[in-house]
Symmetry: C2
Subunit: 248 residues, 2 copies
């Protein structure tokens, strides 16, 4: 996937279409990868097929490509998995974003909980989007991992009801281990064409007792065993289990 | 686990024993956490119980503790999982070390393969040891994740024969998905008191065709599906699946 470039927007692209790369992608193609007129590259839009292109024209500021062929992208997730992540510090959210994109998660919904330390801003969303595009190029998927703007905890509660199964990483939970919860989940979603699964992970400070109560009522609480995982480790750990077992 | 300190060596420690902290741990206790004579903390040796201690004496250069009580550590891994990791760049090996310690892996054996870029040195081992101690404090285990000195690929081949089950993350493998390989493994190791499992992951450059041939002969080759994972993602992904499903 080394020579793959992202195309913004959702304009229909077909064989014969011309594509003008955004400035970022143009710079990457011409200055870093030093590709020239006539070279072949691949392009994709969010969720599209993969387009095989030839470089038609290259100036200092722009690259124009022509689509020669296309083929379906087999690397896109086959199950919709959404992480509801209580906002961690930025470097952790960046790591989570990169790893979950590779592993096969579809969407991250960051939210504020009582003990969150991090404060969000617009710039971060832009930065995370770049990480997503880069991870898509790395792993081969064309459907971007979607990252919502941060929500309040009260806003996510009704959203959780729309999923076929919701796991809640509850560090206070001694009973149900994640391994057996996942086997139960497998039975429950069996036969569904494209199941939707969500999981909820706390920030560095964890959840307040009231938040744990509220979340426990709408989610299946699970324990990760006897070790306490950092927030970013927990999010990657559960993503791996879900995507690995469900062959996402 | 905030006030937990690591004690070097394997001298037998009992209730009533005196412990003198190493310089690193002393500095952490006195300068960063600002704990004082009479305060209670926890200590551990590699694989030991957890020792509840009181600070007896504190000077500029040393802290002496007295052991008041001890209790068994329930957070230590119950299955022996070893990662054979073709040497990646240092920042990736650091991330793998931290995450695998939390998730529950017992040992990492770095090794050289044909396409490795990274070169090892002694300093790195010291640095990785610090990451391990810190991750143990975070997640609550007392048994350190063991990190071997880097080996040659020819040296690891006979080692792989000593495990009950060995997985090989083979990006050329289209057949067996990791999810179903793990279910097979579960049947195979069922009833074993303390099964030992290994898995082999390539570096950024992957393996040469000859290396893939050799490893395929002594391991169960598995595919991770249609996406290509970075080396550190692959190592964390498989650790999560193994530790989650086996309730390590």
């Amino acid at each position: 996937m080394e020579k793959r470039f992202f195309v913004e927007g959702s304009d229909k692209i077909d064989v014969g279409s011309k594509i003008i790369l955004t400035e970022d992608e143009h710079t990457h193609l011409s200055r870093i990868m030093r590709l020239r007129v006539g070279d072949e590259v691949e392009c994709f839009q969010d969720g599209s097929d993969v387009f095989v292109c030839k470089i038609l024209m290259e100036t200092k500021t722009a690259t124009t490509l022509e689509v020669l062929d296309s083929y379906p992208c087999l690397a896109n997730p086959k199950v919709d998995i959404t992480l509801f992540q209580a906002l961690p510090k930025l470097d952790k959210l960046e790591l989570i974003t990169q790893k979950l994109c590779e592993i096969g998660v579809s969407r991250i919904v960051p939210f504020y909980s009582k003990f969150c330390i991090a404060k969000p801003n617009e710039q971060k969303v832009e930065r995370l989007k770049k990480i997503v595009v880069s991870a898509c190029k790395q792993c081969g998927r064309t459907s971007l991992l979607q990252i919502d703007l941060p929500k309040k905890i009260a806003e996510i509660l009704p959203m959780l009801k729309n999923f076929d199964f919701v796991l809640f990483a509850n560090e206070k939970e001694d009973a149900k281990n994640i391994g057996s919860a996942l086997l139960d989940m497998g039975k429950e979603i069996k036969g569904k064409k494209r199941p939707s699964i969500a999981y909820v992970v706390g920030s560095e400070g964890g959840f307040s007792p009231e938040e744990i109560d509220t979340l426990s009522k709408v989610c299946t609480s699970v324990s990760f065993g006897k070790r306490i995982l950092r927030t970013e480790t927990a999010s990657i750990f559960v993503a791996s289990l879900l995507c690995g077992m469900l062959e996402v």
